[in-house]
Symmetry: C2
Subunit: 297 residues, 2 copies
Amino acid sequence: MDFQRELEYRASDAERVLNAYLPEEKGYQVNVISAMNYSVTAGGKRLRPILMAETYKLFGGSSPAIRPFMAAIEMIHNYSLVHDDLEAMDNDKYRRGMLTTHAKYGEDIGVLAGDGLLNLAFETAISAFSVEKDRPDIVIKSLQILSDKAGINGMIGGQAADVAEDRSDGISRDMLDFIYEAKTSALIEAAMMIGAVLGGASSEETDTVEKAASLIGKAFQIMDDILDATGDEKTLGKETGQDERNHKVTLITFDGLLKARRAVSDLTDEGLSLILGLPYENRFLEKLIEYMAHRVK
Amino acid sequence: MDFQRELEYRASDAERVLNAYLPEEKGYQVNVISAMNYSVTAGGKRLRPILMAETYKLFGGSSPAIRPFMAAIEMIHNYSLVHDDLEAMDNDKYRRGMLTTHAKYGEDIGVLAGDGLLNLAFETAISAFSVEKDRPDIVIKSLQILSDKAGINGMIGGQAADVAEDRSDGISRDMLDFIYEAKTSALIEAAMMIGAVLGGASSEETDTVEKAASLIGKAFQIMDDILDATGDEKTLGKETGQDERNHKVTLITFDGLLKARRAVSDLTDEGLSLILGLPYENRFLEKLIEYMAHRVK
């Protein structure tokens, strides 16, 4: 099978897992449940659950806890998009060519749907104890990673620094590094580290995976900036040129497009070589990491 | 010591516990951290952690896991207030006589501070595994209760139904019951049930505590409605008469003030008698439940 078809197959698999944990649309709170399900099922590359599952396979994992954690990380990613798109934040009306959650359901339900997804992510991850009764320790470790990387020292911290940047006149390279690491890398680290932990990796191996994921995540974010500057709106399903219009500082502002492209390659090579240095093999994961650096959407 | 002083003492104790889990205000994301700490330290009755601690004492608890869970439930309560106050939601500028979080830090940081507190609540609760190594089972059970009662079948569900009610022309008594149960009782149930579980209660006893907390929570919400209709703005630290101005349907709309007051008494008596039926005693908890039905703020 060629890579693209394999990737689609894995994305469908991640969606099947995710759907198994979505709530039924009923009750007096059906408004928020519909909005949550809408935002989660409105497409997306499902990269985080796929990275988790593939890292888990790299280590030869066999714990049923992988499924709830795959769903949980995708819920956290999606809640962050729902809140990012709010009028109070980026005020985006479209994502992946569809109305954003608040544009469809109202700003108030947008807030609550994001809250609902974040809470459901933890409910789902905590449910892993019910399917993995022999190894509560790996579920505990995975919960610690998930909550740490999604929080103020990870994803939320990066979003807050991003807001601070929008409000300031200047931004240092150090601050930009923090934003990339926290806003984007942290959740990719969580995905791959949880895959490693549930797959049975040692703590040294999990540290190596964390470093690799940090580099891969940074490359991914720079690629995002490059696509915003040069990509095709139709392929991307969203407006491009937003960073320039919003006077947003990115790595391209500091280094220019050419050096930014080189950074994507270098970071990807470095991250990949850490994965290749482990005494296990998963060819699909290697190809996926390469793909993330060369994607067009 | 008289009850009022004992209550103040316990509120200070709950605040000491809470403060131990608050993040340091530093880093590029200091904006969101400051906003989180501001919202959590801006006063409040600390009823939920106190109810948790007192139920735990009722069962003779001795697990160190009680501390992180006391902090976690107060964080969840506070995040819900921060998001409730947003312009997109109730658009409240003052709470407890102070500026609300979004009024002070901006609507975007208001969104992120709420997210940060919800995430931190789970980080904090999950950290209980590190202090309670002998009984991971009671920590797991408590995490399940916390995430369930705070989610779409609990608190968030109640808030969403509340929004649906605002948008509709009529509301049934059944829907109002759901809103009271989900929006207010659920978190009080979580507080008391987690206190019971960590205190060593059997599952039958925990079920009894859940029923009692449901009744007590409903009485608490009706009292809130009564105070909004009749209370003193200065004592309450917020505007009264809001429900009437916003054409908000409450139990008073259905039954009038007199019957609503009687409902508070009846529900409290019923809840209290369930607690008194348990083969343990905590006089302070009994007085606290009585107090909640007769409070003036």
